[in-house]
Amino acid sequence: MTILLDRGSKASGTTRELDPPPDLPNVDAAQQYYIYGSERIDRSAPLRMSDAEVRRLFHELAAEWRTRTGLDSNIQRKVLDRAYQRIIGLGPQVVPYILDDLARSPDHWFWALTALVGQDMAAGQVSVRSAAEAWLSWGRDVGVIE
């Protein structure tokens, strides 16, 4: 039985057992891994990865994405690629590495950055270079990059 915090009794600091919502999958407690595609993810691992791990994954996924979609002009197809989607899935921790990459060479990271930051800092820019500059300027302003 899962122990869930009862929001209604938060003020009193007590917990009580709640039945899980009916739409949750029935996870076998004996199962050691979640299965994600071909990967097994250790259930006991913390959800937050180290910066070094995020950086490594970003570069690995970016190379995979470029190989698979480099021939494409279709931005929608580029950003729907599974490696690009996994980069977005790394969360805000990946933003500094995307900006570092953008500083080295402008690339199609604007969609991912907009999704991660929640705002298009290059709105209205009509070239890849000017959009990259807008994002880098934002990154410096907020201290994400130097």
Partner: protein, 160 residues
Amino acid sequence: MTDWAHVDPRARLLTQLPRLADKGFEITSQATRDYNCVAWSVEETTQFWWPVDVGGYFWPTDATEPLLPDFEQVYADLGYGRCVHLNHECGADQVAIYLTSSGTPTHASRRLENGNWTSKLGDFEDIEHNDVNGVCCDTYGETVIILCRPSQPQLAVSSE
């Protein structure tokens, strides 16, 4: 998966676009993301032309997704209309739009005065290819629509 960054560009293109091996081609630029095939088809080299709702790209209409009628409208605004003959008509500019089997535009190329075609290949290089179908592939699709317009006079360069 092959990391294209470490592969000779010509070998990479022959892998990605196998028909080029039979049809013939040459690489005519360095790889760049500054512009793409649609921009190159209208001789623009500072903007990446694609309909998408995020900053960094240029598109002449309000469209935010690639649809053939909108692509045709963009070219119509530049004087292009459907061309029934694939043969190189002297005095006519020609562009080709490539489509997937579901009719989504994927690529564009432009005919050169010598009758060959020039394509900017995504984030990679420009190439000159002998046959308009030379770049047909899984990514660009197998359907090609040809648009043409009366040849545009070159702007005179002032000598002042």
